[in-house]
Amino acid sequence: MATVEQTEGTAATAPHGQGADGVRRRDFLNIGAVTAAGVGAAALVYPLVNQMNPTADVLALASIDVDVSAIQPGQAIKTIWRKQPIFIRHLTPAEIRDASNVDVSDLRDPETLADRTAEGKPQWLITLGVCTHLGCVPLGTAEGENRGEYHGYFCPCHGSHYDTAGRIRRGPAPLNLEVPEYVFLNATTVRIG
């Protein structure tokens, strides 16, 4: 039992297992064992945390292809992407003009229409249908719905008004409607995500 009765106080006599620098062999073993256990525990935490991330079947639906050929200028459709509504609006030339004539520096979230549409396709406004205030679905896609004072979208929950480029103009929402990543595969098909 000699080894267990060593204490730091006996360093002067340098008992068995203790070097001149006062570090005992057992200190090395302790640090090594606890480190190995810590690495093991961290490795086990990873799957326990990561299992809460989206599963493979959810990620498999992470991008969708949408045929936009039937959407006439002035019309909009609502579709679902990653379990969230997506608005696809075919802007009329007048709406494009209105959106482009706004002084960007006056906006709460300054972006031009060109920033928010694909190059060469300014007539296609594709945004998430999720109000940036508290996540309601704004009105304005269907025929006859309230499109707000700026003729884009209107969120009925707390009265946020979006313009024809989906930019926030009045109301509590802090940001413009989010534009997802998308590419046009051909003239009529767009891949979102």
């Binding site: 267990v4 599963t55 079947d57």
Partner: protein, 440 residues
């Protein structure tokens, strides 16, 4: 709790002192599994298995909570949701294999823990309550494991549920009504699955509660030890921390290595292939076998083939439950004052025969109900009951036991009489050694 020489908790900082004065939880932990719990200095590795069982329960609770986030307790989608866990959930295959094999390892360490208690007489006075609470935990474990096995809703899940609840159907008069009540239907169905899921989630926390009582009851007399001799003084003990935390840590590392080996290299070895077939109420599997940890009891159940006053089926059920119930009376069936099998040469022989007997029962329980397995099961069942009801009571009266050491330290130190002298007895000049303290 514990011995008078147990170290008192000393808060190391002002903050811990502040906590300790308002909620002495650190003090409780220190006295339960820290430096404040004196433990016999001579424990061997068979004393690791209680801690290992506790860790196994923790693994089951953690992996189980996580699996419940993805599992769907619906008869139409349960099987698919388990496959969803295996294929789609990030590392879901690992979590499910850890849970399924974790259950097997929980039983492995618990069986070793139980047989440790049988060999070293841990069920004897003054630790009867520890033993009784342990049996309660064991019964809760079996109920939890059975209901957990039903949840994947494969063929073995469905037919296992049917057979096991059918055991209650064997009870005269109320049996059928009881079975229907347990299932919530006339065969395992949506209602069965939902209630089993609810209880499978609940019972582990009940087990955790009974474990706290188990440890509380243990700490009244303190841990037993391989000699079975009572602790006589500070020279017989060492503090739980760091001595047994280190020893348990070593055992835990081995345990985790073995569990990992099974999870990663043979994850389905302990399971049954038929449970990867979705439950089909219209097609019974060729043979219905429970999980391996129930095999000895399953063999006892099937050992009764002849009606004698009562139907054979009822005898099987009575014997199966009786095989566990009689363990509740073990402390009184074996009144020998010598605890440890090390000092009971005849008991030791019968103990090892019992081990072989239970292994034989387990082997037969995993085989189809045909000869020669039925005959072997019958003989092994007779021996099982004879061991506890006839051999142990007689043995405890007639056995000539070996001389016990005077104290734990004497048995450890072999002949160093002065150092090993019982605490408080006058010895030639030497003072009793204090309990060794860890280096801080």
């Amino acid at each position: 709790m514990g011995f008078p020489w147990a170290q008192e908790y000393q808060p190391k900082s002002g903050f811990m002192r502040w906590i300790d004065q308002r909620l002495p939880l650190p003090r409780l932990v220190y006295g339960a599994v820290g430096g404040g719990y004196p433990v016999p200095r001579n424990l061997n590795h068979f004393w690791n298995f209680g801690v290992l069982a506790g860790v196994a329960l923790a693994i089951q609770i953690v992996t189980g909570i996580v699996l419940a986030m993805h599992y769907n307790a619906n008869a139409d989608t349960a099987f698919a949701s388990v496959e969803h866990i295996m294929r789609n959930v990030n590392q879901g295959w690992f979590l499910r294999y850890a849970h399924a094999n974790g259950a097997s390892f929980f039983f492995i360490v618990t069986y070793i823990h139980i047989f440790r208690g049988l060999y070293y007489g841990s069920y004897k006075a003054p630790r009867e309550m520890v033993w009784l609470l342990g049996l309660v935990i064991f019964l809760l474990m079996m109920a939890t494991a059975f209901m957990g096995y039903v949840l994947p809703w494969g063929q073995m899940s469905f037919w296992g549920a049917k057979v096991i609840t059918g055991l209650f159907g064997a009870i005269p008069l109320v049996g059928e009504a009881l079975q229907t009540w347990l299932l919530g239907s006339f065969a395992p169905d949506q209602s069965t699955l939902t209630r089993f899921f609810s209880l499978h989630y609940l019972l582990p926390f009940v087990i955790a509660g009974v474990i706290i009582l188990h440890i509380w009851a243990l700490h009244i007399p303190g841990s037993s030890n391989p000699t079975g001799v009572d602790v006589k003084g500070p020279q017989d003990t060492v503090p739980f921390h760091p001595y047994y935390t280190a020893k348990d840590g070593f055992a835990l590392a081995i345990f985790m290595l073995l569990l990992a080996a099974v999870i990663f290299y043979a994850p389905n070895y302990l399971g049954h292939a038929d449970n990867y077939i979705p439950a089909n109420p219209l097609a019974t599997p060729a043979e219905i076998v429970p999980e391996w940890y129930f095999w000895p009891f399953y063999a006892i159940l099937r050992a009764f083939t002849v009606d004698f006053i009562l139907p054979a089926k009822l005898w099987g059920v009575i014997a199966m439950f009786g095989s566990i119930v009689l363990l509740f009376f073990l402390s009184w069936l074996d009144p020998s004052p010598v605890r440890s099998g090390n000092y009971r040469p005849t008991f030791r022989i019968f103990f090892w025969i019992l081990i072989v007997d239970v292994i034989v029962l387990g082997y037969c329980g995993g085989k189809p109900a045909e000869q020669p397995y039925v005959m072997i099961s019958q003989l092994a069942t007779i021996y099982y009951f004879a061991h506890f009801l006839i051999i142990l009571p007689i043995l405890s009266h007639v056995e000539r036991t070996l001389p016990l050491p005077n104290s734990i330290s004497e048995s450890v130190l072999h002949g160093e009489a002065e150092e090993a002298a019982p605490y408080g007895t006058p010895s030639r000049g030497a003072q009793p050694q204090p309990q060794p303290q860890p280096a801080h």
